[in-house]
Amino acid sequence: MTDLPLLLTSITFLPLVGVLFILTVRGDEAHVARNSRLAAMWVTLCTFALSLVLWFGFDPTVGGFQFTEKWEWLPEYGINYQMGVDGISVLFVLLATMLTPLCILSSWSAITKRVKEYMIAFLILETMMVGMFCALDFVVFYIFFEAVLIPMFLIIGIWGGTRRVYAAFKFFLYTLAGSVLMLLALLTMAVQAGTTDIPSLMAYHFSPALQTWLWLAMFASFAVKVPMWPVHTWLPDAHVEAPTAGSVILAGVLLKMGAYGFLRFSIPMLPIASADFAPFIFTLSIIAVIYTSLVALVQEDMKKLIAYSSIAHMAFVTAGIFAMNQQAVEGAIFQMLSHGVVSAALFLCVGVVYDRLHTREIARYGGLANNMPRYALFFMLFTMASVGLPGTAGFVGEFMIMLGVFKASSWVAFFIAIGAILGAAYMLYLYRRVIFGKLEKEDLKALLDLSPREVAIFAPLIVLTLWMGIYPSSFLDFMHASVGDLVSNYQTALVAAGKLPAEALALAQR
């Protein structure tokens, strides 16, 4: 089904059509707001429907890129507009297109001022996210990767909480500082290899000395985005201040950009440096898992707690990626997807009570199980998924990562497992304080349970959480071939460089 030449471009840029439409909406404020919401909803739903073609049309038996397209852009520099997806990126495209309509729906009544601009920002954001996962040219990737900053900066800054300006600036400057270093790496690679075409760069052999520098420059960018300890501090601020839908996209998709970068660039293009730096990544991941879990335990703010839990979960992912074997990498990708669904859902859960009471302070809540039983049920499911209860999406990823990491180093697996225990502690502690206990506070008693609109938001996420937990193969099948190629290319490169005995290759391909 690679005979759909414009599919990825259409998915990427369809939201911009919605932007053009919303720009033409005229009339009084209420009218504009309603039409903008509707238009954004329809466009994102159409985008999602279109992206489902990828789900059905993608051939999971092939490791290479599919649905590729190429247009000349600056051919004399080897820079061209190229799109394509493989088993690693295809599901992220779907994740992005699935979460955006839910974000629009969740902002339906929460956003009342400047609705038009809000919807435009989200549609542009969707284009940038999808384009980033589809890009098959490093420059095109970089453009999408960076351009995400513009809508996100505005979303946090305009519709955010009280400290929104601080959070927006921190987010913007942290991310930009990392990215510009990656730009230098990109340029160096372009100058060296004479092209920025991603498959060609993967095949190009950079000298080991250069690889170290390139790896560090890229690390600066991806580590901020993941975010890894100690450059994670922008995330709690951004999450706390962003509007609910902003947090959802931030946790659901934007955090995946960093880890995706490691998988797409650092490891296949710079295998030797990646192998050298793997212990470094493991160390940072272990610190992140344990440290941020402990920090999460003492948080007073619901969103901040979930933000710290995101950092811990993403540390699992980075550890899995750099373990570099089939299970660990597949587990890492799966964990990213499940975290995309579960953390998005958790932020939506916070959004539900925030919309009603306008506070995220945990101490202000308690006993919600009495008057919001449906909410309590949904929240519990996602809490369990976050903890990693078997049968939910969270379990599969964590389990596969630990399995894979154990192969690479049992000590790393040991420390990461401690993080999993702490994860259970802070999530259950949060759940107890918000949902259980006596319903004593007067204003809480007046809270209404989920509205049909809110149920509609959660329904697809619940289905996905259970589906991914009970039958993960339908997702993992997409990855096998591509991840297999990634791992074997990596090991071949290491063997060629004399960093790995040749027997390891045979062992891995077993």
Partner: protein
Amino acid sequence: MMSQSLVMGPALPEILLAVLALAMLMLGVFRKGDTTALVGWIAVAGFAVAGVMTLMGSGHDTELAFGGQFINDGFARFTKVLVLLGTIMTTIMALSWMKREGEGRFEFPVLIILATVGMMMMISANSLMSLYMGLELQSLALYVIAAFQRDNLRSTEAGLKYFVLGSLASGLLLYGMSLVYGFAGTVSFDGLAEIANAGEVSTGVLVGIIFMVAGMAFKVSAVPFHMWTPDVYEGAPTPVTAFFATAPKIAALALFCRVMMGPFEAYAPQWQQVIVLISILSMVLGAFAAINQTNIKRMMAYSSIGHVGYALIGIAVGTTAGIQGVLIYLAIYLFMNVGAFTIILAMRQKGRAVENINDLAGLSKTNPLMAAAMTIFMFSMAGVPPLAGFYGKFFIFMSAMDAGLITLGVIGVLSSVVSAFYYIRLIKVMYFDDVVEPLDRLSGATQKAMLAISFVVILLFFLVPAPVVDGALAAAESLTGGTSALASSH
């Protein structure tokens, strides 16, 4: 040499503009009533004709005129078109401003024409003599223009300051040129290049080059010769500031490129470190000093110092790719500045011009289109893709990486992060803050047109970058006589 002495064809656009300036002067003097608008629009038409002549007139080869003193090559054509574009757009801005303020004087467009002739001479200079002639013609006209609002204390102060410091810089330049002439024995660029290529480095010439670099660094407002810029930008009438920020800066940088890559290319190992240093200083100072500014014109002054720092990277690299980067950067810089200054010019509260950054507060609510346009310009200046400003930096840094100037590249990108802070602060004021006092609506079709053009160019540059990129490459090749190691080899 002698056979060329009567050739004037390549300089036809300059001659046209010089004659036009004199004619307009007479028109203004002898015609009764206010002739500012008439003279102004004729000047704009003249610039347009000169631009078309520059583009079409002389084929694609390098031509000499005035006994080899004047050169018209691809590089000159590219930069002249940029200069003329900048002049046209800022003149139009100035005309509508003068109409509104009731400050019309026909001398203004005439001075702009003279300055433009000077700039075009500078760009086409092929000897130290013609270089100095062009530069001084330009500078003298600019001194007067800076002090144009003669009843305004700040404007006269700006003009005087600019004059005194500018004369000092001209003196330095002249001194450097006389040293070069004294030690090399010729003023012709070709002759100087021949001597430089022939053999050993003469210390006298080197000292002369350093003095010349200092003089030119003043004209492009690179650190440490930037002191005049914030004061002049702030004091001069806003349309004049817009003019200063575009055309003369482009012309001076073009001159810088020509001098360093033409006669003195062989000395590159000697002057490269100097350029690297002033480039780094400009980028860093431009980034840090702008943070605390409250006046938007002052902020733009520091921003322009920073931008010059980036452009200088291309000269420091000293390859075809570097010069190409400079040219792309200048082309994009021109539109970003025209756009930003159109908005600064439109900052009025109840008819009174304001220039504090905080006066923009809540602009997105009162005037969403204007705020959106300014946002695009600011993100572009910060170098965020997919906006045009990113590509300017992209090609500059690519040439730096190619030449192995990695430290310069790292300092460059990091200072661009610092400068992003004050650009996005402007966006914060417009979008995150509440309205204090609303700005007046954008008035005048010309202003809207200017804004629309620069908006579209900056936003949609990424769709068709090839004309600018290829044009800049051709221009750079004609200057350096080489080919870019980055392009087309693949």
